[in-house]
């Protein structure tokens, strides 16, 4: 059944798939092709694609089990275009705990750029995992990032203003 919100969407895409690293590039190209006609400035598209890329890599790296979901919703509002990106994947307990810790820290941070800079300084001496992908989204894409959980499912949403709308 179609969500009523989808009928207002300029782009609405929901994908259920087994995430693989080599799928991210083609998916990114698809998202770019779908959204570019509606976005007035390249910066808005660039921010959207950055957030999508980091979320998609996140599910490739950390999902367990076969299924994961990716959702994009681009909608016109009076203030401009609003974008919502959402991933849903099953996560191992340690990964779930780590993601919750990172996302809770992000939610508590008053300034996403200052928080990102702090994480960068902390990560500089560590040679292991990046740990910067999620924090990069609010800092560079200017989107709000939040999450919910449902048993071992992690649902991460990035939401924000994409840009001014292309005149019709």
């Amino acid at each position: 059944m179609t969500d009523p919100a989808d009928s207002r969407a300029l782009v609405s895409l929901t994908l259920s798939f087994r995430p693989l690293a080599n799928q991210i590039g083609p998916l990114r190209s698809l998202l770019s092709d779908l959204c570019r006609p509606h976005l007035a400035d390249p910066d808005g598209l660039s921010r959207l694609l950055l957030a999508a890329h980091e979320l998609l890599e996140n599910i490739v790296k950390y999902s367990v089990g076969e299924a994961a979901e990716f959702h994009l919703h681009l909608e016109a509002k009076t203030s401009g275009l609003r974008v919502r990106l959402r991933t849903k994947n099953r996560a191992a307990p340690e990964r779930m705990a780590d993601a919750r810790w990172r996302l809770d820290a992000l939610a508590r941070a008053g300034d996403p750029i200052a928080h990102y800079d702090e994480l960068i300084r902390e990560s500089a001496g560590r040679r292991d995992v990046s740990g910067l992908g999620l924090a990069r989204i609010p800092a560079e894409s200017e989107m709000e990032l939040y999450y919910t959980t449902d048993r071992d499912w992690l649902i991460v949403t990035a939401e924000g203003n994409a840009s001014k709308r292309v005149s019709e």
């Binding site: 921010r47 890599e57 910067l132 560079e140």
Partner: protein, 126 residues
């Protein structure tokens, strides 16, 4: 001055090509810095630092004009590299040459400049 021992690396989808002019090493990044490029970037930047010290370089320039995207893992490799230079007794300048048509570059690289403002410079190339 010794010859450059670094060679081009990468494959389909991502490459780094070095050239040495006087004491300035220029690294041209091409393609998409995604998950497939992460280990290449990490190992290459370690080699760049060793080469910079060996040759006594004054500057390393990273030309991103043809770099369409860089993920957070590749970005982290630059964080580690810059931090290594920052704490090194012998330092050199790091210049990022950005493409104005790829807006993510300026946003991402500003974070690296904030990490080491005295070492890192960002310039726009036409």
């Amino acid at each position: 001055m010794s010859e450059l021992s670094l060679t081009a690396v990468g494959g389909e989808g991502f490459q780094v090509t070095p050239t040495l002019v006087d004491f300035n090493l220029r690294l041209v990044f091409t393609g998409n810095g995604d998950m497939n490029a992460t280990s290449v970037v990490h190992e290459y930047l370690k080699a760049v630092h060793e080469e910079a010290l060996r040759l006594g370089l004054a500057q390393v320039s990273c030309d991103f004009k043809q770099l369409t995207f860089m993920n957070s893992s590749c970005f982290k490799s630059f964080v580690v590299w810059i931090d290594t230079v920052k704490i090194s007794e012998i330092r050199y300048q790091i210049v990022f040459l950005t493409n104005p048509n790829l807006p993510w570059q300026r946003r991402s690289l500003e974070a690296l400049r904030r990490l080491a403002a005295t070492l890192v410079t960002i310039e726009t190339i036409a």
